[in-house]
């Protein structure tokens, strides 16, 4: 279906309009990286903006027929953002900061205690082993929960109802905790 874009509009300078939108993109990206991508909080958004803008520009110049501008822009902006994020990340010489460290006073504020690191690594190993033992859908639901997705997001991504996602997450977490809990003396 052709785009529902209007034929004419109030007089305004398209350059200024676009500058405004791109400026807003930078602000949006900064907020979203902070909110949704804790491990990428150290990335300079300015490094991404120009890459994304150039990619959108190239795509628009190559794509003469745009049936659905909204979908087109969404796809180009999304894939360009992901690609740019990965490129910028790959260029970084220093390792990324983990979200937990960034939430505090900065990475330099807390040197990891070797004992604590070893304990966390062991916990992580046990957690992954326990997860691997869960039935497929429970494992997926719990893993998505642990990655920070809501049950609605999990449902959307996996093609489930929200109720199914909630149920699988709840039961899966119960199962996981049981498997992780220290066995009492005499337990089989």
């Amino acid at each position: 279906m052709p785009s529902p874009l209007p034929d004419s509009t109030p007089a305004s300078d398209p350059d200024s309009r676009l500058q405004l939108i791109l400026a807003e993109y930078g602000g949006w990206l900064r907020r979203m990286l902070h909110k949704l991508c804790p491990s990428r909080r150290g990335i300079q958004v300015e490094d991404l903006e120009q890459e994304v803008a150039l990619r959108i520009l190239r795509s628009l110049r190559n794509g003469r027929e745009i049936e659905n501008p909204t979908s087109f822009l969404y796809r180009v902006a999304a894939t360009a953002t992901v690609d740019a994020l990965r490129r910028v990340e790959a260029r970084r010489e220093e390792p990324l900061i983990s979200g937990d460290e960034e939430d505090g006073d900065g990475p330099e504020a807390r040197e990891p205690d070797p004992e604590e690191a070893a304990r966390t690594a062991e916990l992580g190993r046990r957690l992954r082993e326990a997860l691997a033992e869960l039935p497929d859908n429970r494992r997926r639901a719990v893993s998505f929960h642990l990655q920070g997705f809501t049950t609605q997001e999990t449902a959307d991504l996996l093609g489930w109802t929200e109720a199914k996602a909630r149920n699988l997450t709840y039961r899966g977490l119960e199962d996981l905790r049981r498997r992780l809990s220290p066995k009492a003396p005499g337990d089989p």
Partner: protein, 223 residues
């Protein structure tokens, strides 16, 4: 172990340094938007479930949807080129491409501090000056222009003109000039085709309110 502890332990170390096994951006986009079939969805879900970096990217992609809708709506509301030049469908892309190219070639994306503010939108520059340019915007010319003239900018120490075709490919860039006008060399004039449309912008140097002027469009009469 409470829920937050579980999440922290799970996510620690789930951000791979090597992303070669991660799905490409377009696959991730398809997954995030539900545009994949069941077998591939499960395969991608298993990857995202164990990869903190991809999980973050899926969240970012989903969050981009309302932003893209807003962006498309606002750009769709931008002034159109004459209907005789482009179809309605292509004009969106070309108008955006043209405008985007201005932002990119001008290097303005990263220098917002130089722009004058738009009321209510801090850090964003104001509307363009549309008058006093020659050829004026939307001019239909019998011959390629011999000279471009634009509004003088108080405080400007230099200007540079860039000429583009309608697909935002740059055709010519003037040397830096002190006066608000420059001649189009004969060689470049002869490259302009009858019936085609072009636009031009001017970048300014110095302590000026506007860092970029235009775009101004013109079309050459067809044969």
């Amino acid at each position: 172990m409470n829920d937050d502890d579980l999440k922290a332990v799970y996510r620690r170390g789930s951000h791979p340094l090597d992303r070669t096994d991660c799905p490409a951006a377009d696959q991730l986009f398809a997954f995030a938007t539900g545009a994949v079939g069941a077998p591939e969805r499960e395969h991608l879900a298993d990857h995202v479930a164990g990869c903190g970096a991809c999980a973050e990217e899926v969240r970012l992609v989903r969050a981009l949807k309302p932003w893209s809708e807003d962006m498309a709506e606002r750009l769709g509301a931008a002034p159109r080129r004459p209907r005789s030049l482009w179809s309605r469908r292509t004009s969106f892309g070309l108008a955006l491409a043209a405008a985007l190219s201005l932002a990119v070639v001008g290097g303005q994306l990263l220098t917002r501090a130089h722009r004058a503010p738009v009321p209510g939108v801090p850090g964003v520059r104001g509307p363009a000056l549309e008058d006093s340019a020659s050829p004026p915007s939307d001019a239909v010319l019998r011959q390629p222009p011999e000279r471009f003239v634009w509004p003088s900018q108080p405080g400007a120490t230099g200007y540079r003109l860039r000429l583009f075709d309608e697909e935002a490919s740059q055709l010519w860039e003037s040397p830096m000039v002190e006066e608000p006008g420059t001649d189009l060399p004969v060689a470049e004039r002869s490259d302009l085709r009858p019936g085609a449309s072009y636009f031009w912008v001017v970048e300014t140097e110095g302590q000026v309110r506007r860092r970029q002027l235009g775009p101004w469009w013109f079309r050459l009469e067809g044969r």
